[in-house]
Amino acid sequence: MATKFDAIMARRGEIMLAALGMDYSVFEQSPIAFDYEGMMSAHGYSLDDIVGIQTRAGVGHTPLLELKNLTDVVRSMSAPGKGARIFVKDEAANMAGAFKDRRASVSIHVAKEKGYEGVIAATSGNYGAAVSSQAARYGLKCIICQETFDSRHIGQPEIVEKSRICEAFGAEVIQMTVGPELFFHMVELLDQTGYFAASLYSSFGVSGIETLGLEIAEEMTALTGAPPTHCVITHAGGGNTTGTARGLKRAGATDTQIISASVDLSGLHMASDDDFNRKSFTTGHTGFGVPFATWPDRADVPRNAARSLRYIDRYLTVTQGEVFYITEAMSKIEGLERGPAGNTAMTVAVSLARDLPRDATVVVQETEYTGAGKHHWAQLNFAKEMGVEVRSGDPKGNVPGKVIVIPERPEQIQAQDFDVARMRKSYVRNALKNAPEGYAPTAADIAFLAADTNSDAAAVEAILAALKEA
């Protein structure tokens, strides 16, 4: 028997078509391939147009800061000649406190232009604050669906704070218990209200992040004479990586290495009521990073604009304790107190910069706001209350959900390479799995898969052959 959940999800296609303000079917080319660049440019806004939209909305043009003390900490433990310069784009200076304002600003602009009365987004992150803030400026109604609590009505302080800020901006916040059916309720509400779906994964949202890459390329060129050699990006659903990398490339920074960074939460199940409050991170972690990179079209839009494997050169992970250490360090030696999840890339940058030459330049492309609840102390105190052990030591002993190990010395911060080749293989497997059974990929499909995984036809064919044998 079809459940209530199944009934709404069966009508999802027609509901989303009305709510997205865009027909995705025109971009489909085969059961596997679609016209990605066509979808990304269909809104008709140039990068200059988007800069204009964001400037009027109070978004972007955030400070680019060189972190000289952090750089010197890195150099104090580097081999001679090593220790790259570290910079940060202080995205917390955006109106609602994160780079997500860039993402929301374009979506809300489109919603207003198209005459929608309100907007809806499903998010437990900074994106909710961004959508709520922009909706307030544009005079639109706003509903945020948020996975907030476990079944005991207990929530991580960081998420509870994100409920508060959305409500502060006048949004209606629907706080829910754990489960992917958050999206079911969002679809139900879109159907009821006729509001615009301000999806994190639309081309509007991801295009809005391109200005961040553009600013980084321009500001680093002004400051150092060239775009950065490396850009480190906190990675969750993949929009941050995709949008920033696209913006860098559009600004001509084609040599900048794109490094995605996530907190390692391996072993924790994202839909588990028991694990929910033992994550200690609400975003920027592998629990989102890996599934979305290896199958982006799991998102709430027919085709996800965030396709990070197209752009990732390296994917590095760090432990929870390492990020909390760097978050504390940033306050104490750089005077920059910011939210912990946004410092994931900063933590990776410390490890990365150590092995790079001194004239290399590493840009960490975001920070996020901090405050009561949304703070590393709050998250660690909460972890202890949830029975997670917090201790000092070697971060190699960190076990997500069980033990958070705070490094004793910065030398102990060592990011780990996540196998991108394996992610590409997993993506191709998922693309095949989501095509009709027995479908044989054409040459055009193989070219699409190669572009979507930043590899080549021969590599995709090798993966397909291996999958066939298995």
């Binding site: 010197d72 509870v160 059916e181 909390f324 001194r358």
Partner: protein, 116 residues
Amino acid sequence: MTDAIQCKAGDWVEVQRVLLEPADRSKNLPPETAEKPLRMWIKGFAQAAGALGDPMTIETMTGRLVEGSLSAINPGYFHTFGNPIPELVHVGVDLRARLADYHAAQGDAPAGKGGA
């Protein structure tokens, strides 16, 4: 925290309700989630007087009427920073000392300059 157990019509309140009973939930859930209902909480203006636990209709910020059972009256926010973390309190002192040592060893070279 507000101790009120009774609200008047027009008060800012919170209601809760079950969105999906376990049988209606997605089939791809770990057992500890699947066995529990999907619940929601939402705030708005009470449409009538009532006591905690009573059925209540609220008008939300978007003007929707939502039914549930009254779960809080004038609900606030009580998240905080909490106590300092003993495992982190040394970080600032350690790193400042390290920087001082590093700068001394460099002959007080300006911090953070590029080049070999």
